[in-house]
């Protein structure tokens, strides 16, 4: 399974094996990783699963769709060029080694 590393704003790092097909959000929630709230359960409705993706992995990700783009305009922490909603990132084998940073706040 691809390994994904979640690094919190305070620097705590957790590396999780996430099944292919699951989302980066689900990998966090199902393993009790702090920093990802996912209030709406992965429906691209709440912007509380916001992550900053390490730049070198950005080309692996599918482009930002219209709904994700709209929600990224409502994040509690500032949107940056590497901002994504982790519920929209479905894990592929190429995600192995992916590193995401969770923002200081999601709400």
């Amino acid at each position: 399974m691809p390994k994904i590393t979640y690094i919190s704003d305070s620097g705590t790092s957790r590396t999780i094996d996430v099944p292919v097909g699951d989302t980066v959000m689900e990998g966090a929630v199902q393993n009790d990783v702090d920093g990802i709230v996912a209030e709406c359960g992965g429906n691209c409705q709440c912007a509380t699963c916001h992550v900053y993706v390490e730049e070198k992995f950005l080309p692996l990700l599918k482009p930002i769709a219209e709904d994700e783009d709209a929600m990224l305009g409502s994040t509690a922490s500032p949107r940056k060029s590497n901002s994504r909603l982790s519920c929209q990132l479905h894990v592929t084998p190429e995600f192995d080694g992916l590193v995401v940073h969770t923002p200081p706040t999601q709400q």
Binding site: Q30, N31, G73
Partner: protein
């Protein structure tokens, strides 16, 4: 100090999680009558039914979360509240004392006096329905509301012959304008679903090897009522979601609260309502009481149609459309007495978000501005 939460659904879970997020340190007990960890219901009529999502994808948090956050989960049914002794009795006979009680008892499906009809609310029901749907050929769905239509879309996507039977003259009549009903009717018809309006199951008697009803819910009020708390269409709470007993709150599907946008008391059935009310009550319990003032929003997914609704259209007297339904992307704005009350956005997520802000800030928007696509809605929110 201890908080007891009755109801292990989205609202009950969120109350517990928000209390810990707010720094609450005392005992939290979450009583739910279903096995397993709290889960999300929305996927049950969507991705789960289609087999695209599994049970683990519906679970709100793993069991370990409740341990690390010291949230005691009790699988039982609460049978009585003794308000003087501040004690909840469970069907097991166990009694649990509280300082603050949160009622998140939810709702149950309305049932028809018909045999062999399936309903969908719980994960167990969804698991059985998913299996039966796989084996079925002809599916009859009683009720053309959100649940019925979501199940119809799933069944049709799985290749079943599908008939929807609706007693009203149009689909989702309780919650959307005719233009939206017509759009969904056309989409379902194009997908091959037979829609029968002004009809009942008995009058139609369709050929079906699986009959499912989605005809609304009844809030679970008995526990509150038996404890002497005022109830109407829900457990009656004030603007801070407190019942007549200052130690007892009620949230989510079971609670009827004064909504400042609708300018009347409402009882809402949605994830947003459960989650935001839970967060509001958690804040109140740690000493930051505030009026609950979140803008209601909802969503439904049917085929590739994603409809997001903001606000409450209650009593609307004018409706304008922005964009052409033919383009499969449009929004519908509901006005009452000249004020914007609600917006339904079909595959227009940015307009939905703008609508949440416009309604929340009570921005003055005219029907002409709403229908004018060159008018910048997002700019109007700031």
């Amino acid at each position: 100090m201890a908080v007891v939460i009755i109801g292990g659904g989205q609202g009950g879970f969120q109350t517990a999680a928000s209390l810990r997020a707010e720094g609450y340190q005392e005992r939290i007990t979450l009583i739910g009558d279903e096995p397993g960890v709290p889960y999300q219901r929305p996927p049950l009529s969507k991705g789960y039914l289609l087999g695209k999502q599994e049970q683990r994808h519906t679970e709100l948090r793993p069991a370990a979360f409740f341990e690390t956050h010291r949230i005691t989960r009790v699988t039982a049914r609460a049978t009585a509240i003794d308000r003087d002794a501040r004690r909840v009795t469970l069907d097991s006979g166990e009694q649990i004392e509280y300082d603050t009680l949160v009622l998140a008892t939810g709702a149950r499906n309305r049932q028809l006096p018909l045999p062999d009809v399936f309903y969908l609310r719980t994960l167990a029901e969804a698991a059985e329905l998913r299996q039966r749907l796989r084996d079925a050929h002809d599916v009859a769905i009683i009720g053309g509301g959100f649940i019925g239509l979501e199940i119809a879309a799933a069944a049709r996507t799985l290749g079943k012959r599908v008939t929807v039977i609706e007693a009203n003259p149009r689909l989702m009549a309780r919650v959307v304008a005719p233009v939206v009903s017509e759009y969904f009717q056309a989409q379902h018809t194009a997908q091959g679903v037979e829609i029968l309006l002004n009809a009942t199951f008995e009058s139609v008697r369709p050929k079906a090897d699986l009959v499912i009803a989605g005809i609304g819910v009844v809030p679970n009020l008995e526990l509150a009522q038996d404890a002497g708390l005022p109830v109407a269409n829900g457990i009656t709470v004030d603007a801070s979601l407190r019942t007549a007993d200052e130690r007892i709150y009620a949230i989510g599907d079971c609670a009827e609260y004064p909504n400042s946008f609708a300018e009347c008391s409402v009882r809402l059935e949605s994830v947003q309502n459960a989650v935001d009310q839970a967060a509001c009550v958690a804040k109140a319990i740690v000493g930051h009481a505030a009026e609950y003032a979140a803008v209601p929003w909802f969503w439904t997914d049917q085929y590739d149609i994603h409809m997001q609704m903001a606000g409450l259209p209650h009593g609307f007297d004018q409706v304008v459309s922005r964009g052409d339904p033919e383009s499969r992307k449009f929004s519908v704005f509901y006005f009452r007495e000249g004020g914007l009350r609600a917006v339904d956005s079909i595959n227009r997520p940015a307009e939905h978000l703008a609508a949440r802000k416009l309604i929340g800030a009570r921005v003055k928007l005219s029907p002409d501005q709403a229908r004018d696509e060159s008018f910048d809605l997002k700019a109007a929110t700031t």
